[in-house]
Symmetry: C2
Subunit: 182 residues, 2 copies
Amino acid sequence: MTTQLSTTSYALLGLLVFDSATSQTGLTGYELKQRADRTLRFYWVSPAMSQIYTELERLSRSGFVEGVDDNAGKRTTRRFRITTAGRTSLTDWLHTSEQDFPILKHPIALRLLMGSLMGPGEVESMLDGYVEALAERRKELEAVRELLGDNEAVAYPARVADWGLAYYDSEAEIVEKLRRTL
Amino acid sequence: MTTQLSTTSYALLGLLVFDSATSQTGLTGYELKQRADRTLRFYWVSPAMSQIYTELERLSRSGFVEGVDDNAGKRTTRRFRITTAGRTSLTDWLHTSEQDFPILKHPIALRLLMGSLMGPGEVESMLDGYVEALAERRKELEAVRELLGDNEAVAYPARVADWGLAYYDSEAEIVEKLRRTL
DNA sequence: CGCGCGTATTCCTAACAGGAACAGTACGCT
DNA sequence: AGCGTACTGTTCCTGTTAGGAATACGCGCG
């Protein structure tokens, strides 16, 4: 009897697993959001704050995470750790679930589709802007990649980062080539 | 005073513009869904039926589309056409709005992040499965591309399709290379 | 004629985004 | 010491989106 969770739930569980490798105390919702912003957003979405807290609530009810009140300092916050049940659920998911195809929401491609409704210079400058944005993104991801180094413990995250970098490179190349055909 | 619409709204308006080039009668919500499934889903999401109808309702209230009852045949359906106001709104959007960065929801990359929690063979077979799915997708998009041909009227959609094909190729290459490093 | 499939629409529910609101904490500046 | 500001931490609200179930008509086929 496995409780059904959303992919985003499992993504958060994953973050908590990685945290548990180096820390006993667990993470607050706020900290979880920061980690998601740093890494998850490149390959998935970084969930809204509101969603993180509701997700933690749900995971907590299912027994996959446990929230402990932290009274260090006057202010009380809740720190969440993954439970063994949570670990099991996560690995079960990794083993069994259908992997579905990536979803792309590509506003630039969508606009290009209607390129005939735009002026000729406009399409070009849109694509140029996109190439710039890609370079920026690449730089951000590069910083993450360097942080990972060649540490064996984070070999998989490093591979994913490399994947992302290669993707940005190829995307930039495709768009530049495309721009020249206009 | 431009009414604020979602990107998906504009995507639907775009479909209606293209339709209006070849037909007077307009499209039903159902037909709109089919067109979205055929083309939009590669670069954006194909909205759920429920969303298409609510979107049409909203667009209709804003005066960007007009719905006409169609009594040909015994059954009454509503067919929607874009209005001149709708056209204006769409081109305004193409001209002025911020273009934001694509959003990728990549379940495979997400799983690979947690590769250390999976068995060694599992990661490989996951990637293999993905490469296969990519090939299938590519074939579907190729069919769309061939439909477009080198017709000047759909030059932009053809370019977007080419972009998509190049993306699938590069993605497959990256993943295959990645798989070899495991 | 009855069955199944494609067409067409509506409704319901849960997930999700985004931001406002609120409050405590830390730190530097004067 | 007091003040402002930025960061941390959580909750709430509203609207949007996803997904699927439910309904119903039409058409063609055995």
